[in-house]
């Protein structure tokens, strides 16, 4: 039951209401029992139709009665047109009943010559009363499918709705599915054309919407999607064959890591050069890697910048479009300083155009966002963390080093750890991290971890790291020996700093740690 306001009444009004309800109940129960009786006896006649109609008019969610009606209609075979008439009145009363819409679809599909034009017009009328009625939209999609209305025509339909109304999330959503049908991979057709649904038209349309009404959130949601389109789920492939383990190590972006063992005897000696090729069947592709003479490790890695991992490929045309949109959004932001959608969109545009160049502005805008929209501060902190990690990865790549350092950046979360598979040194000090998540266990090359001055309670991800020697956790929130257990699986761990953690205060912890981590030679408590 939704939207039923509680109204206070007098004792007498209560009494009258009670009598009225008792009467209604009697009638209802009698009708229901009559329906059930007919069904039990297998009677499928007009009277049964009458009875079910009576009840369904006021209670269209009584699904069993629609079932009964379908049995009767199937038996009688000729009442389908008047059924549509009945359904229209049901839908007028309650346009959100699953049962009514499904029954209408069932009836329509059974007509020898269904009138899909009439069905479309019913949808038009229903949507003009409530353009967010998802039952109606779903019904419309079914009608469109059955009657072969073109994608272009439906796009025009959404154009009309969007230009005449606010509260258009359903229309924008429909557009996203229609566009994906027209241009499956990206919003940019290969050759520019007069097609009204081209790329820049897309941007224009949604831009008009949010500049006309900056509080219409649906346009902002849709725009974020447009900006992100064309982000290819390309994978970064990292080989890491080592003689010691003879393991092939690959990582896929947005998917799970795979470690494969090379067939025994593949690398029989280190005096010769070895060349390896890896094929994937899932995304048919391959990578080559050479293990040079005298070396014990090697790798092959797609670069983050080449693969446009953190943003979509930008053509010259698109770059200038986005640049002008950034300018327009900046102007809008001056007029509407409290509009969080605009602020967030400015950040996303800057990420799309030049993530490193706009880093300072991005941080400043996030600060403003948290002030303007404090309920979502945690979201903005995590999103900002993600962008700062991306920037650090890009800088690391340009510098061609294997050190990842991101200190004092208010980091609240870690991500893109699959990008750090080759890193030997990580510094995360002076942030707001609460845990080192399971994905940390991917960092097979890690030798030194600096994570002082955080809020770390759990070290779930610090297990089976074969090269990890030094872990600096001064001033964190590790409170029990159990939290340190993962470290026991790191055979090379020598240096552990636990000063300023609750656990270092507990009695006998030094002895317990010596038992848990016998190879550690330098333990600071």
């Amino acid at each position: 039951q939704h939207g039923r306001v509680k109204v206070k009444t007098t004792a007498q009004q209560e009494e009258e209401k009670k009598k009225e309800r008792e009467k209604k109940l009697k009638i209802y129960v009698a009708a229901r029992d009559a329906c059930f009786a007919k069904r039990k006896e297998g009677v499928k006649d007009e009277e049964a139709l009458e009875l079910t109609q009576q009840l369904l008019s006021s209670n269209p969610d009584f699904a069993t009665l629609w079932n009964q009606r379908r049995e009767i209609l199937t038996h009688l075979e000729t009442i389908y047109d008047s059924e549509l008439h009945f359904l229209e009145s049901c839908l007028k009363v309650n346009p959100k009943s699953y049962g009514s819409w499904f029954h209408r679809g069932w009836v329509s599909s059974r007509l020898p010559r269904p009138n899909w034009v009439r069905e479309l017009s019913l949808c038009d009328r229903c949507l003009s009363l409530d353009d967010r009625n998802f039952h109606c939209w779903d019904y419309r999609r079914m009608v469109v499918k059955m009657s072969g209305v073109s994608v272009e025509k439906e796009l025009e339909f959404t154009d009309r709705l969007i230009s005449s109304n606010f509260s258009n999330y359903s229309s924008w959503h429909y557009r996203s599915t229609l566009l994906t049908l027209l241009h499956p991979e990206s919003p940019e057709p290969k050759s520019p054309s007069r097609d009204p649904q081209t790329h820049s038209h897309q941007y224009e349309l949604v831009q008009n919407a949010f500049f006309t009404d900056p509080n219409d959130q649906s346009a902002w949601f849709y725009y974020r999607w447009l900006l992100g389109r064309g982000n290819f789920n390309c994978f970064v492939v990292l080989y890491f064959p080592t003689l010691a383990t003879i393991t092939l190590f690959c990582a896929f972006l947005f998917s799970q890591r795979t470690i494969c063992d090379l067939p025994p005897g593949t690398i029989s000696d280190i005096t010769n050069e070895h060349n390896l090729t890896v094929h994937w069947s899932e995304k048919p592709t391959r990578r080559d890697c050479a293990l040079y003479t005298g070396r014990s490790e090697s790798w092959c890695r797609d670069s983050a910048t080449d693969q446009e991992l953190f943003r979509s490929e930008l053509s010259v045309e698109k770059t200038s479009v986005l640049q002008s949109e950034l300018e327009s959004c900046n102007q809008l932001q001056e007029l509407e300083p409290l509009n969080k959608w605009c602020l967030l969109t400015i950040i996303l545009l800057m990420r799309a155009l030049d993530p490193l160049g706009y880093e300072k502005e991005t941080l400043a805008h996030f600060q403003t966002l948290k002030e303007v929209d404090p309920m979502r501060s945690a979201y903005y902190s995590d999103l900002c963390s993600k962008f700062m990690i991306e920037n650090t990865i890009l800088k690391m790549e340009y510098a061609e080093v294997r050190v990842f350092s991101i200190s004092d950046k208010n980091l609240t979360t870690l991500c893109h750890l699959d990008q750090l598979l080759l890193v030997t040194h990580i510094s995360l000090s002076s942030n707001q991290l609460c845990r080192l998540p399971l994905q940390f266990a991917m960092l097979q090359c890690l030798e030194v971890l600096e994570a002082e001055n955080n809020l770390i309670e759990k070290l779930e991800g610090l297990y089976h790291l074969p090269k990890l020697e030094e872990v600096l956790l001064r001033n964190n929130k590790i409170s029990s020996l159990a939290d340190l257990e993962p470290l026991a699986s790191c055979p090379k761990l020598k240096h552990l700093d636990l000063r300023g953690n609750p656990v270092s205060q507990s009695d006998g912890v030094e002895a317990e740690l010596k038992t848990l981590l016998p190879n550690v030679t330098e333990l600071l408590l």
Binding site: Q1, H173, P214, Q217, W225, M375, R376
Partner: protein, 331 residues
Amino acid sequence: QGTQIKDVIIKPDAPATLLLDKHADYIAAYGSKKDDYEYTLSEYLRMSGIYWGLTVMDLMGQLHRMSRAEILEFIKSCQHESGGLSASIGHDPHLLYTLSSVQILCLYDSMDCIDVDRVVEYVRGLQQEDGSFAGDKWGEIDTRFSFCAVATLALLGKMDAINIGKAIEFVLSCMNFDGGFGCRPGSESHAGQIYCCTGFLSLTGQLHQVNADLLGWWLCERQLPSGGLNGRPEKLPDVCYSWWVLASLKIIGKIHWIDKTKLRAFILACQDEETGGFADRPGDMVDPFHTLFGVAGLSLLGDEQVKAVNPVLCMPEDVLQRRGLQPDLLS
């Protein structure tokens, strides 16, 4: 000028503490309203109504006040030849009520009241070629029913009875531009459907297929200035979304993206101090449906006066531990 934000205003005298005793009294008395018009009108969902009442009572530690024997008898009389269960006696079987009845039998640890093998056959028979599930033999397709199917089978320990790969394929085909899910491929994202689909993906071990960052954003944007949550953009807040949205966020590891203090205040304001129970929004009429989701929402927010609730199955965690069921959650 332009769009106004649809929301409610919480009055300063709205309830601000959790009135558990009143809610327990309200639910305990609700079942005896058999001569009530509204109660009879809702007969078509009775099995779910019983599940809502029993679950909230168990969360409040008051399950013993409900009529166990009567309910078990009722469930027995609702199993049909096909194996499926109906909402009430004389009504037709459906996946929705098959799930509710299995959930109730878990609460009461009495699965032997029904023919389990027949239930499994009923569920299996409703899977379509494209992996989707019909709600019953009449063929309505909806991702809600995908959830009902796997949840039922998970509780019975029989998930291998269906084509899980195809089922997953169908649910993923319902993922939208905003990271959310709708009823069928092409349907608009809706918090109720998102709950069903993330729950489904949890039970089938496929949470890595969710774009948690994008969906989490869409979900945390459901929180309105009043602190309450709506089900999709530009809609009014409703306490039942404190469940659908919150549980989804918990499943994908982003529950910290909601302002918990403000949400708690909204949920508490939906209580009725006179009658007990929760309404969809402050000042409206109460019902067991909103009462369960108000209390369950508070449990997810960490209220220690209420038992821990499982975000995937909306059942007390201790009941699921008994059955050895611990669905995945993203962290």
